[in-house]
């Protein structure tokens, strides 16, 4: 591929005796929608923290947009174009939806009125327009997830790290979110989303992964055990075993006859 947007080389971190992430290397191409999956406790969120600067790796490098950003502070990474969301949503509860998103817009927009206007535009794109003046603390889980997404989007990122943006949503809500996420990368005239953002998502909802991701990495116990298209990866023995236990793949094949 051409110069990857994000490139990890041998990134590792350990907490006390626990090796949370071990020598992970991967490359995210610009303009792609990719996914990071793996069983609980695999280290996916830790990896996001390492990419975005919330944690400093013990070893390895992180390169973004041609620069070495290993261990760089999160706010600097955001300014460079990498924004992450959180698995457990973190709204600015005392402020309205509009004000929340405006903080993101302010990253590149110093004027208040312009930032608030940008917030309104983005809210419309992700379907939050009717809730603009509601305090963020009053939103449902689905609303908060959208808010998290909208706020991150307002920073005008090149790379968006979405951490389980579909977790806690019911099937209807998931179905509504999927096209929004796709539009981030590929654009959608109808909703006015311009596209062009590279997205890397941590996801457990397989329906979304199969539907959206062009390329998938699988993390288990801190190590990258597989990579490829969704179809390739879900058929990989090692991946099946990571989720369902040792020997499962063979048993499934045996049962299939």
């Amino acid at each position: 591929m051409a110069e990857p947007l994000l490139s990890l080389q041998g990134v590792s971190i350990a907490f006390g005796g626990l090796r949370a992430v071990q020598a992970v290397s991967l490359q995210v191409a610009p303009g792609t929608l990719t996914a990071l999956i793996g069983p609980n406790g695999a280290g996916k969120t830790t990896l996001f923290a390492l990419m975005s600067g919330f944690l400093k790796p013990d070893a390895g490098t992180v390169r973004f947009d041609g620069h070495d950003i290993t261990g760089q502070a999160p706010h600097l990474n955001a300014r460079a174009g990498m924004t992450r969301t959180f698995q457990i949503v973190q709204p600015f509860a005392a402020q309205t939806v509009r004000e929340n998103i405006a903080v993101g817009a302010h990253l590149h927009e110093p004027r208040r009125a312009a930032a608030l206007a940008a917030a309104e535009r983005i809210a419309q794109r992700v379907g939050l327009a009717p809730l603009l003046d509601k305090p963020a603390g009053d939103l449902t889980v689905a609303g908060r997830k959208r808010l998290e997404l909208a706020r991150a989007l307002a920073t005008g990122p090149k790379l968006l790290l979405l951490d389980e943006v579909l977790a806690g949503l019911n099937p209807q809500e998931i179905a509504e979110m999927i096209p929004v996420v796709r539009a981030l990368v590929h654009g959608d005239a109808a909703s006015g989303i311009p596209g062009g953002v590279t997205v890397l998502m941590i996801e457990h909802v397989m329906q979304a992964v199969m539907n959206l991701a062009e390329h998938v990495w699988v993390l288990a116990q801190g190590q990258l055990i597989a990579a490829g298209t969704p179809a390739e990866v879900t058929n990989d023995d090692r991946v099946i075993e990571a989720y369902l236990g040792h020997g499962t793949a063979a048993r499934l094949r045996g049962a299939a006859g």
């Binding site: 999160p74 955001a78 709204p91 509860a93 005392a94 990253l107 991150a152």
Partner: protein
């Protein structure tokens, strides 16, 4: 803008009252209520909008007060020039303390404790050092004139403190409608989320504590001009710290008018009690402390109702 109009109206009303009223008692009441409002509004900038609870704001008050006195007494400079120095000194102290404590990520109770510790250190230093007059303190000679910032009647002082209060209100209004204010409140509400979208918590908090301290220092300078006396206990003792924080919380922190409301109510309460029971030592503080407990227990959002509950303002510390 709504805020500006309201602030202007407020200033006009107070100004009108001041010019119209002749009673010395009432003029003094207005002056002290405004003074308390200044302290409360300044604490509100860091505590209500920044989410950092300082228990030692007297640190900045005392710095302003002492610099105001020392510059006039030792350097012989003009009182207005001294004011600039006082405010600048308070801001510098804040920048130092803020840079240190925020650099090391102190939040919540630990931040409160450290501010208390710094205030105490300065108090002890003020007692031990000569140029502050030691334990005896410093006295400003009576030389009434506008140039000396000493006014014959309360009206002059009210004009002065009203100016400070209006400035503090304008600064707070700016926080509500600016990028800096939005970033500051984001850091208050959720520091990690703020970092993820490009806000630098250290620099934002540093700016907030410096701004807050500037107004607190002005309050200290004002105190010296009015009472013409300062000593370590008055400067760095708990009274001004407590007045500032209780008034802001009682009125509703994180709002524009809350601190003013809180200051007015508390001062009224103090005056009423003084009229009923006389000038008893410690009575004021008992009231402040009790009101604080009661408000936190029953009306956590403060009297203005729309103030942030203490809980919400401090939730950011977990971020």
């Amino acid at each position: 803008m709504k805020d500006l109009a309201a602030i202007a109206a407020f200033a006009a009303v107070v100004g009108g009252l001041t010019l119209g009223i002749d009673s010395g008692v009432w003029l003094t009441f207005i002056m002290m209520a405004l003074y308390a409002s200044l302290l409360a509004q300044s604490w509100n900038i860091l505590g209500g909008y920044g989410g950092q609870f300082s228990f030692g704001h007297a640190l900045f008050f005392g710095t302003g007060a002492y610099v105001q006195a020392i510059v006039q007494l030792t350097l012989g400079w003009n009182a207005w020039l001294a004011l600039i120095c006082a405010v600048a000194a308070a801001a510098c102290v804040a920048a130092f303390v803020g840079a240190l404590t925020f650099r090391y990520g102190l939040k919540g109770s630990y931040f409160a404790l450290v501010t208390l510790a710094f205030a105490e250190v300065f108090r002890i230093l003020a007692v031990s050092v000569d140029f502050t007059g030691g334990g005896v303190g410093l006295m400003l000679p009576l030389r009434e004139s506008f140039g000396n910032m000493q006014f014959g009647s309360r009206r002059g002082y009210i004009g002065l403190v009203l100016g400070f209060v209006v400035a503090a209100m304008l600064a707070t209004s700016w926080l509500r409608h600016s990028r800096f204010g939005a970033q500051l409140q984001a850091v208050r509400d959720n520091e990690d989320a703020a970092r993820a979208i490009g806000v630098n918590p250290w620099s934002v908090k540093l700016a907030a504590i410096t701004l807050s301290a500037a107004f607190m220092g002005a309050g200290g300078a004002f105190y010296v001009q009015v009472f013409q006396y300062i000593d370590p206990g008055l400067a760095f003792g708990p009274v001004s710290s407590v007045e500032a924080l209780v008034a802001a919380i009682v009125g509703g922190m994180g709002t524009l008018w809350g601190p003013l409301l809180g200051a007015a109510v508390l001062h009224l309460l103090a005056e009423l009690t003084r009229n009923l029971f006389g000038q008893l030592p410690g009575l004021n503080m008992i009231i402040y402390g009790s009101v604080l407990v009661l408000i936190v227990m029953f009306v956590p959002r403060g009297l203005s109702g729309v103030g942030l509950s203490v809980r919400q303002a401090m939730r950011g510390r977990r971020g």
